[in-house]
Symmetry: C2
Subunit: 297 residues, 2 copies
């Protein structure tokens, strides 16, 4: 059950209360970061999350409010030092941009970094999850992401105990979905195990309403979605290719998402009350994020 920490919830400019975009969640031995706005390394420190926990960074696009924390975070991770390989995913040209970044700033320590210039589709197939990317509509190449935990086969503990099967290799076989021999009888895996459905988290920011956003959010346990503006400013949303509260809630409803958390608010909103009210009219299970909010999914 991943717990997502919002590290930044502002839009183009940070405010006293809101940092630029980033969100983190740990999963087993991995740590996932979506976007890396300026000052993400300090937000991690304030949140009590060690930067070396991060194993994969998914970048939506290269506007500053989503990426300017990269050089600082990478330097701090390298100095830790960082063990393992850090994978970064972003639109075409990301690899080249990292090259320029390393020439712009002094990097004393190095880390094992692999930058992936991605195309829409499955961009990451890890042992316990997959990540899908879809193009959004933001004027520059911009991706939304869908993190999909793989289903887990669980033991039916009571049934196993009833048969007297001890802890050990037989249970391992069952967990891998294989039938076993027990007391001269073949027992199919399905009789003693069940499939626990994996969780789905969708991350959709910086876009006009588009099909990609709905596809990513389809049936998601948690949809994290931009709502830069309240409904009253829908002209601004159109002009800058950002979502309003209504847009975000409509995506959640059309996609039949289970839970909606709004983020990436324009700096004009000291309070997000209007945005939340606007969204609730269309999708009731909604909250507005703030920096350091934690959400279980």
């Amino acid at each position: 059950m991943p717990t997502v920490t919002f590290l930044g919830t502002s839009c183009m400019q940070p405010t006293k209360e809101r940092n630029h975009s980033a969100l983190f969640f740990p999963h087993d031995t991995e740590g996932i970061l979506f976007d890396c706005g300026e000052n993400t390394q300090r937000q991690l420190k304030i949140a009590g999350i060690r930067p070396t926990k991060i194993t994969r960074i998914f970048l939506t696009h290269w506007h500053g409010d989503h990426v300017l924390g990269l050089p600082g975070l990478l330097q701090t991770m390298a100095a830790a030092p960082y063990v393992g390989t850090l994978h970064v995913y972003g639109p075409k040209g990301s690899k080249e941009r990292f090259g320029y970044m390393f020439r712009a700033f002094d990097f004393d320590a190095k880390l094992d970094l692999v930058v992936h210039d991605i195309e829409p589709g499955v961009v990451c197939d890890a042992s316990l999850f997959e990540v899908h990317a879809a193009m959004l509509d933001h004027g520059v190449p911009c991706f939304g992401y869908r993190w999909v935990e793989k289903d887990k086969r669980r033991i039916k503990v009571a049934a196993v105990k009833k048969l007297g099967i001890p802890d050990g290799p037989l249970l391992g076989e069952l967990q891998r979905g294989r039938s076993i021999e027990w007391k001269g009888k073949r027992v199919p895996a399905d009789e003693l195990t069940f499939l626990q459905k994996g969780k789905v988290i969708a991350y959709v920011v910086d876009t006009a309403p588009c099909k990609g956003a709905i596809d990513l959010a389809q049936g998601a346990d948690l949809l994290i979605c931009e709502a830069a503006y309240a409904n009253a400013l829908e002209d601004k949303g159109e002009q800058y290719k950002h979502l309003t509260a209504r847009d975000a809630a409509t995506i959640a409803r059309k996609a039949d998402a289970k839970q909606l958390v709004l983020t990436h608010f324009s700096q004009r909103y000291a309070s997000t009350e209007d945005i939340e009210e606007d969204a609730k009219e269309i999708f009731p299970d909604v909250v507005c994020a703030y920096d350091f909010l934690k959400v279980k999914c």
Copy 2:
């Protein structure tokens, strides 16, 4: 009488309480920023300082904790929009580094920017102040700075009143240091005016003890100096080419500075009490800076 605002007082890594290096002070129509660590734009916002006030940025060197706030600050200034020309001064190669920075990140708005690759000496001669740079000893090209307010000629108000000289062009002549004719008699400027000595602010961070640091600090009204470590960690200071409290206080004493403010503390110090005590043994008029501290000089 410039008032300096400390925007960041940490060393290599930010802490919950301390941001990366930057300090700002306004002067007449100009705004001076020394260094621009990550998150400087948000620190300015919290301090209530409009980024468009900045007219000149002086970079000591290109380690991340001194420069990673540049792209974000420049974007925010450009979007404001920024009126006038922004001058940035830094070690040789700065111009090239800005080129890479602009290719690494998306910059929608542009501003009129002039980057100066500087050499030691007078690097800026503005109408009301000069800035001198001297090489420090940090392993990479690194400058310290000395901001020198030009002396101002002031009217001796009582003397002028006594002679009955009215407001107007004659006073202007006196302020420019020129003699005037009054009631058929020549009156030299020195009789009716005096020279008000300009203030001097020295900024010395990221260095081993060196002559350049003492030269910059000579007789300064305010010496802002690194003290990364308390005396007990002088081996770390030597190893990493940073100053201890004793080093900083010795520079202040040798240079006969009037006031010493320490900054750029290693993240290991939750409290700077030891650093302040160590420095006081050598130079009594010393305080340790914290984020958003304001110091008049």
